[in-house]
């Protein structure tokens, strides 16, 4: 039928155009996104990640608590926020659950050499040269022993990203104010409220795994999240950016169902009116 032939031509033209401006253009502009490396292949695995949590706590109190708090175990940071901002331009995070959030080998290597582990030569925390590998094992064991189990995506995001990023629409403000962050990192880290709409899930996973994967030379540090933490963070970011997804998907079915029904009725009416017209 002629009408169907015309419709077919329209559909083919529209599909070619759509392919060109969406999938094809995006593949040319962004190339292939690298796969995330959740095992941190480049991180040496020879530093112990187990030891005595009691010794670990002692070492933590003497070596880390001057800068970091650990609320889960009642440890307050030795430094008030204002002082840490003047010293580091970033507030050192509370480490209550970091033992569950970060990959243990990454964490051990990070304590030894933060600049190399994070791929950020200007990373504000000094290397803990005074600690032997064995000491680091004790500290990691301690950090793992105090963490809460089954953290939510929001908890992980706030603890791992909250010193730099705000999530305004969730009423989460970064621990560090904007000006010092800009001085430290060269730019204010973007708000994460709708980042799930600006970036797709695969991109976020690769980026968080190692920011250098997608933005070479960026000042956002590699943080060393485990695969599970990364996925929870990404799911959380995706979900807060699009809170009405379920409502949309259900309503869509009703609306389209109704319109299909209307199409049926109008088709019947057309048939009736056009019966005598040739």
């Amino acid at each position: 039928m002629k009408e169907l032939k015309i419709l077919l031509i329209l559909i083919v033209l529209v599909l070619i155009g759509y392919w060109g401006i969406e999938p094809y253009a995006h593949s040319v502009m962004h190339g292939e996104v690298k796969q995330p490396d959740h095992t941190y292949k480049d991180v040496p695995k020879n530093i112990p990640t187990t030891g005595d949590p009691v010794k670990g706590k002692e070492l933590f109190t003497t070596n880390c608590a001057s800068c970091h708090g650990l609320k889960n175990d009642g440890v307050n940071p030795g430094m008030d926020i204002q002082t840490s901002i003047t010293s580091f331009k970033v507030v050192p995070p509370d480490l209550s659950n970091i033992g569950a959030i970060l990959d243990e080998h990454f964490l051990a290597y990070f304590i030894k050499n933060p600049q190399d582990a994070t791929k950020n030569p200007k990373f504000a925390m000094p290397p803990m040269a005074q600690l032997s590998d064995e000491d680091i094992g004790h500290v990691v064991a301690y950090l793992k022993s105090v963490t809460k189990k089954d953290l939510t995506g929001k908890e992980i995001t706030v603890e791992a990203c909250g010193r730099c990023h705000s999530i305004k629409y969730q009423k989460v403000l970064s621990d560090t104010p904007k000006e010092p962050l800009k001085e430290y990192l060269g730019k204010v880290p973007p708000d994460l409220s709708v980042i799930g709409k600006a970036k797709n899930v695969e991109y976020l996973e690769t980026f968080i795994n190692n920011p250098q994967n997608t933005l070479p030379g960026t000042s956002m540090p590699r943080l060393g999240l485990t695969k599970e933490s990364t996925e929870k963070v990404v799911t959380y970011l995706d979900q807060i950016a699009d809170p009405h997804r379920d409502q949309r998907n259900t309503l869509g079915i009703w609306v389209i169902g109704y319109l299909l029904f209307m199409a049926g009725i109008t088709f019947a009416w057309k048939k009736k009116i056009w019966k005598n017209i040739h």
């Binding site: 155009g17 629409y169 949309r248 109008t266």
Partner: protein, 394 residues
């Protein structure tokens, strides 16, 4: 029917209904491409309604705009997301139906006498619609909003003598900023919709006066209508129209609910930042072909700008470029070939317009831009060939 009588005495409604609906005849040999004018009106209505709801929560202020759209409307207001999706998809689909409507007019020669006024008013509607879309795109104040507006307004700088001052006058400042947002807002929600409504009325009035064209391009005489060569607008034509509209709405709302991303660029979910230029700046898809003509002359910005202006305006002159007495493309083999080359080229330019203009793409853009104009330049020649052939008694 007392009320109808009362109304008829005062407003002559019966006569009106006859003239406008039941005794207004449309040719029988038209296909569903003639439904696209009504589809445009449908999309326009959808845009008006969804736009009014958005207007209730939108805040035209550089500090508030992004959050009022992405937080208030998208997250807090009940079904706010539905209105935003509908409005964004509606704007995009408006251009799809406009392009099809125009292509129908070109293929069947509907721009020819006696429909020049229909064509010109239609063309003005296209320009107004483009201006509405362009000003509207700035309102969410995202990165792509900002940089598209920045890039396009910069184009005016090239105009001799007044260019630089003109750019500042349009922007209200040296760069795109709050003053630009508020004036684009005023145009988008007030002046342009008003002009659209006025020109739609003139366009429709003109169509009523000269009647619709048809596949074969012959005109209906009064006797034809009586003999039943025409179908009445109401109920016969509209019965088909309602079916076409329903099918169109299924497609439209499928996009609104499940495929809206093409109409809402990802980068626009990053707030506008005048210090950080995005890696790729491109307009919405419906401007890509014209944008590619602009970039196509990659070796000379001035030439590109001139070509860009021509590409936007030359369509208006079709009735005078094509003087062949044969109306419909159905009976013009040469014309038909050029038409399909033109359609393919427009699609090609649209796709190229989003790709980085480097290396091979830059040259393809140049070739595509030239082909775009060949269609228009070929029309006078085709007309002469056809006139000769007719004079030769064939």
């Amino acid at each position: 029917m007392k009320f109808m009588d009362w109304l008829d005495e005062r407003l002559a409604v019966r006569q009106l209904v006859k003239v406008m609906l039941t005794e207004y005849y449309v040719p029988k040999n038209i296909n569903f491409l003639w439904s696209f004018g009504v589809l445009i009106m449908l999309v326009m209505a959808i845009l008006f309604v969804s736009g009014i709801f958005l207007l209730m929560y939108y805040k035209p202020d550089a500090n508030l705009a992004f959050d009022s759209v992405n937080k208030t409307i998208m997250m807090d207001v009940e079904y706010g997301w539905l209105f935003r999706h509908t409005h964004a998809v509606g704007a995009s689909i408006m251009f799809l139906v406009l392009f099809i409507h125009m292509a129908r007019g070109i293929y069947y020669g509907s721009y020819k006498a006696p429909r020049e006024i229909v064509w010109i008013t239609g063309y003005i509607l296209f320009i107004l619609m483009s201006a509405t879309a362009f000003t509207g795109y700035l309102l969410p104040w995202g990165q792509m909003s900002y940089w598209a507006a920045q890039t396009i307004t910069t184009l005016f700088e090239k105009i001799p003598f007044i260019g630089p001052d003109l750019v500042i006058w349009i922007r209200g400042n040296y760069i795109v900023e709050d003053a630009t947002l508020t004036r684009f807002f005023a145009l988008h929600v007030m002046l342009l919709p008003l002009l659209l409504a006025i020109f739609t009325a003139i366009h429709l009035y003109a169509v009523r006066i000269v009647g619709s064209n048809n596949e074969d391009g012959g005109e209906l005489t009064k006797e034809d209508k009586k003999k039943g060569k025409g179908i009445s607008f109401w109920p016969v034509f509209m019965a088909k129209e309602f079916f076409v509209m329903s099918v169109f709405l299924v497609f439209f709302f499928y996009l609104v609910f499940y495929q809206y991303k093409f109409a809402m660029d990802q980068i626009n979910f990053i707030p506008a930042d005048y210090l950080q230029t995005p890696h790729h700046i491109y307009p919405e898809w419906y401007f890509l072909a014209f944008y590619e003509v602009l970039r196509g002359f990659f070796f000379s910005q001035n030439l590109g700008l001139i070509a860009f202006l021509f590409s936007m305006f030359i369509v208006a002159f079709l009735p005078w470029l094509d003087t062949s007495p044969i109306k419909s493309g159905k009976h013009r083999p040469l014309y038909r070939i050029m038409f399909w080359i033109f359609v393919a080229d427009f699609l090609f330019l649209t796709i190229l317009g989003k790709l980085p203009a480097t290396g091979l793409y830059a040259w393809l853009g140049f070739v595509g831009s030239i082909v775009f104009f060949i269609f228009f330049l070929a029309l006078p020649i085709i007309s002469r060939i056809e006139k000769k052939r007719l004079a030769g008694g064939m």
